[in-house]
């Protein structure tokens, strides 16, 4: 296939205007020894051939048909039809970073609305325009903390997802900052045990709301403790949980980050998702990434622009607050549309359905013989249980068409007999009971 527009006459006329005989003459700067290597790629497909081949590959992803009780950082929520329809408007998705604001007010205003919504959900003062994903956003939050506190060391609770902790380890090792893991996977972090770690020097402590195992813990005491030691508190939050739960700002957090995937973004085998980052006014100039601000035009009318660009790589180069250039704008737009559709009341109700579904499933499973709780909670829409044979139970459910959570052996050796389960609003009564029935047989 080809998406070029020229016919042979166009090319001849253009070459003549340039004053060369052949197209190859334009490539004369390429050393002859490098020019036109053999290219072992398959012949190009026509559109119908391509669609058929893609359809065959898509059909080999039976995961798409499984009934999903798996979360672990990526959640199966209903996405209103209008989200895809509107974010699929060509004016949005075929544009780029709004460098020329007079031409891109649509995206700029949408991002300003997005920033407002993230501030509303987290309770914090300011939000950026998006980062790559939740895990990389945590690292950006730590770099921000470091620029503010300069202790060269970070603390991360072991109740933070191992996927996030592994990501932090990779970046921190490259940047040569130690990251100390504190506390236990389950239960609240004990401030008393933290005192010594903070006294040893740390720019930030990272906790999660809910934790990787679904538990909700109030971090207020941790925030106070951190601040006594001049460290910042970074809270990783699930944005849907924030519709109900005490906000990171109410707890005293300095930075809240997370993944906005639950807000209208499909699972897509893990991406593109949406890293969000919100913080206090005091830290706004240390933020990474794009930020949209309101201003006025020459006639005094309100308009929107990218702002605080003096923090960014195209101006500050190696001294920039981050290297991010292309971000996840279209995902931020999806989240904005989603939150606008759900609205103030709808989002609370949706979060409540998630809370109730998971609560019901947890109670039913804990009533099965041989099943016990991993973590006392409270929980949002995800929880861990100990079962007699985690892999066997997971496999049996898979045979019956359920993607029954994550066997925790993959995450924590000490939780090897655990399963991490999630029940969103998507799960029907029949599906909830169906999973319980599969395991009743085994229990």
């Amino acid at each position: 296939m080809s998406y070029q527009s020229h016919g042979p006459d166009d090319r001849a006329a253009m070459l003549a205007r340039i004053g060369v005989d052949r197209l190859d003459d334009l490539f004369a700067d390429l050393p002859a020894s490098l020019r036109n290597p053999p290219l072992e790629v398959p012949p190009g497909l026509t559109e119908p051939e391509l669609l058929r081949l893609a359809g065959r590959l898509a059909a080999r992803n039976s995961a798409a048909d499984l009934i999903c009780f798996l979360g672990a950082g990526a959640y199966d929520h209903y996405i209103p039809a209008a989200v895809g329809e509107l974010a699929g408007r060509a004016e949005f998705y075929t544009g780029y970073t709004p460098y020329q604001p007079e031409m891109t007010q649509g995206m700029l205003q949408a991002i300003y609305e997005y920033q407002t919504m993230i501030c509303e959900l987290t309770g914090l003062d300011v939000s950026n325009a998006s980062l790559y994903d939740g895990a990389s956003a945590v690292w950006e939050a730590l770099l921000m903390s470091e620029r503010h506190v300069h202790q060269g060391r970070f603390l991360v609770s072991r109740s933070v997802s191992p996927l996030v902790r592994a990501t932090l380890r990779a970046y921190a090792s490259a940047a040569d900052f130690p990251v100390a893991e504190v506390g236990d996977p389950l239960g609240a972090l004990d401030p008393a045990r933290l005192e010594a770690e903070l006294a040893a020097g740390a720019s930030a402590l990272v906790v999660a709301l809910p934790t990787a195992y679904g538990e909700l813990h109030d971090a207020t005491a941790l925030a106070e403790l951190c601040h006594r030691h001049r460290a910042l508190l970074v809270v990783i939050a699930n944005p849907l949980a924030l519709a109900l739960v005490k906000t990171p700002a109410e707890m005293g957090a300095d930075i809240c980050v997370g993944d906005g995937q639950p807000l209208g973004i499909p699972l897509q085998f893990g991406g593109p998702f949406l890293g969000f980052l919100a913080t206090t006014n005091a830290l706004v100039r240390k933020m990474p990434g794009r930020i949209v601000g309101a201003t006025v035009d020459a006639d005094g009318q309100r308009g929107f622009v990218l702002t605080l660009q003096a923090r960014e790589q195209h101006i500050r180069r190696e001294k920039a607050t981050s290297n991010v250039c292309t971000n996840q704008a279209l995902m931020a737009l999806r989240a904005t549309i989603y939150l606008t559709l759900l609205g103030r009341q709808g989002l609370r109700e949706l979060a409540t359905v998630n809370l109730q579904h998971a609560g019901w499933l947890r109670r039913r499973l804990l009533a099965l013989p041989g099943v016990s709780a991993l973590g006392e909670g409270p929980h949002f829409h995800e929880f861990a249980i100990r079962v007699p044979d985690a892999r066997g139970w997971h496999q049996a459910a898979l045979q019956a068409g359920y993607l029954a959570g994550l066997p925790l052996a993959e995450w924590e050796p000490e939780l090897a007999d655990g399963l991490l389960l999630c029940a969103t609003e998507q799960r029907t009564r029949a599906e909830l009971e169906g999973l319980v029935a599969v395991w009743e047989e085994l229990a």
Partner: protein, 482 residues
């Protein structure tokens, strides 16, 4: 235009929340009152039809490749094939959980594996990782690989060399790994100054980061010499693939001596720019660096694919999951749509268009380098500046003609710079019309610079006050004023 918040009316809503499937338990039993938020998040309250109009109205105040010509230099704003959107929306790709067991995701793993192989072939590298989420993320991954390599050699190499014309993400990415960034000067022909390179490269040098064609659209014709200078010092050569479109199928970074490359699939491989993202920035390496690639790796055992989550020498995980897969599905479509001749034809027309447009504009605007260009070229607005209109004025006036302005004031090495990348999917008529607009603007500047300075005249807003935006920060709406 009003914000959604300003259109909000208490009690209005859509119908997207399913009824509870289970008997309700009092909220306080599931979530203690002390853990509940004090006030609901003040999201807007609108019914669905109003929401739809709101975002359609916003879309009409936005500009994309499907609306018109978008010659934003270094960004390769080419047509985004529609079949790619259709494929990415297949439920078999859309509704797949990233932690689903390997046997239930064989199709997408095969697609990703094939994408890695195709990129390796096209770039002349031993292997690719698709994990990085954007070009800058690919650079960071590449810098981490280079650091891992030197650490494994026991060598404490602290410096990364970057040409003065490099994109800002290059030094920023190197700095994230703790490297000291050292700038290398360019020569009068727009290429790397080899004497300056020789002076600066030493046993503390970890790498040289290079874009080729460079950020002025010029091919670094002494690239083989550059490679040997860098390699002789024991340093590695990094390829910023933002400009791969200019040489696609005609030369391979691996053959030029590059050890690590990233490609921006949202540029060369046609995935939509999304109004700012998401893209993807796969990172490729030469054979001696394969073990350092990020996790997870896609492994093929016979006809079966799986994700490998651990590898002792890997730089580790860069994201919670496996990359911007939805973007990579689109890139795979583009790769499979083009055979070898079709790939070469892309760079052929990209370079033809750039040279043609440059020819049309060179009378009216200053051309900083008298050389053939590849897929993009720089002009200087110095002459116009002297007559009273800046490059910013020219850019704003172009908006009135329905064209997106070029990249402006970058690269920094050209005064009053306009970097123009016309891409291969544009017609001769479009290039002619753009050139006519530029020539008209040049003429307007001669007779009436005030008019150009007041542009844009036809956009939904007049010129916006960016200085005020940065001084009087207003980053979110509030019910009181805002």
């Amino acid at each position: 235009m009003k914000l959604s918040f300003e259109k909000s009316v208490a009690g209005r809503r859509g119908n997207f929340v399913p009824p509870l499937a289970v008997p309700a338990v009092p909220l306080d039993e599931l979530l203690p009152a002390a853990l509940q938020r004090a006030t609901p998040a003040a999201l807007p309250e609108l019914a669905e039809p109003e929401v739809v109009r709101h975002f359609v109205a916003l879309s009409r105040r936005n500009f994309g490749v499907d609306v018109g010509f978008y010659p934003l230099g270094s960004c390769t704003m080419k047509f985004n094939p529609k079949i790619n959107e259709r494929v990415a929306a297949l439920p078999g790709f859309l509704d797949v959980h990233p932690l689903a067991p390997a046997e239930t995701v064989q199709g997408v793993l095969q697609l990703l594996h094939e994408t890695e192989r195709l990129l390796s072939t096209i770039c002349g590298m031993a292997a690719f990782s698709l994990v990085p989420a954007a070009g800058a993320h690919g650079e960071l991954a590449g810098m981490m690989v280079i650091q891992a390599h030197h650490r494994a050699q026991g060598a404490g190499r602290r410096k990364v060399l970057v040409p003065d014309g490099a994109h800002g993400t290059n030094p920023a990415s190197a700095a994230l790994c703790g490297f000291e960034v050292v700038e290398v000067a360019s020569n009068p022909a727009g290429g790397v100054d080899l004497d300056d390179l020789r002076r600066k490269v030493d046993t503390a040098t970890a790498a040289l980061m290079l874009t080729n064609p460079n950020t002025l659209g010029l091919f670094e014709d002494r690239i083989l010499e550059v490679a040997s200078i860098v390699h002789e010092a024991g340093a590695l050569l990094y390829y910023d693939g933002a400009n791969l479109n200019g040489i696609l199928g005609r030369a391979r970074p691996g053959d030029m001596g590059f050890d690590v490359v990233h490609v921006n699939v949202h540029k060369t491989f046609s995935t939509p720019h999304g109004g700012g993202g998401p893209g993807a920035g796969p990172v490729g390496v030469a054979a001696h660096l394969v073990d350092h690639l990020p996790l997870p790796r896609i492994v093929r055992d016979g006809d079966v694919f799986r994700l490998e989550g651990t590898a002792p020498r890997s730089i580790g995980k860069l994201l919670a999951f496996h990359g911007n897969i939805g973007v990579l599905v689109r890139a795979w479509c583009y790769l499979r749509a083009h055979g070898p001749e079709q790939l070469r034809a892309i760079s052929g027309d990209a370079v033809l268009n750039a040279n043609y447009l440059r020819e049309l504009l060179r009378g009216a605007f200053e051309v900083p380098y008298e050389r053939r260009v590849m897929h993009e070229f720089a002009l200087s607005g110095r002459r116009q500046k002297a007559a009273g209109s800046s490059t910013l004025d020219i850019a704003k006036r172009l908006i009135d003609f329905g064209f997106h302005p070029p990249t402006i004031y970058w690269p920094l090495v050209v005064e009053e710079c306009m970097l123009i990348e016309p891409v291969e999917t544009e017609t001769k008529e479009t290039l002619d019309a753009f050139a006519a607009a530029m020539l008209q603007i040049a003429e307007e500047i001669r007779v009436n610079p005030e008019f150009v300075h007041a542009a844009p005249h036809t956009a939904p807003v007049k010129r916006l006050d960016e200085v005020r935006a940065a001084r009087q920060l207003d980053l979110r709406w509030r019910a009181t004023g805002g």
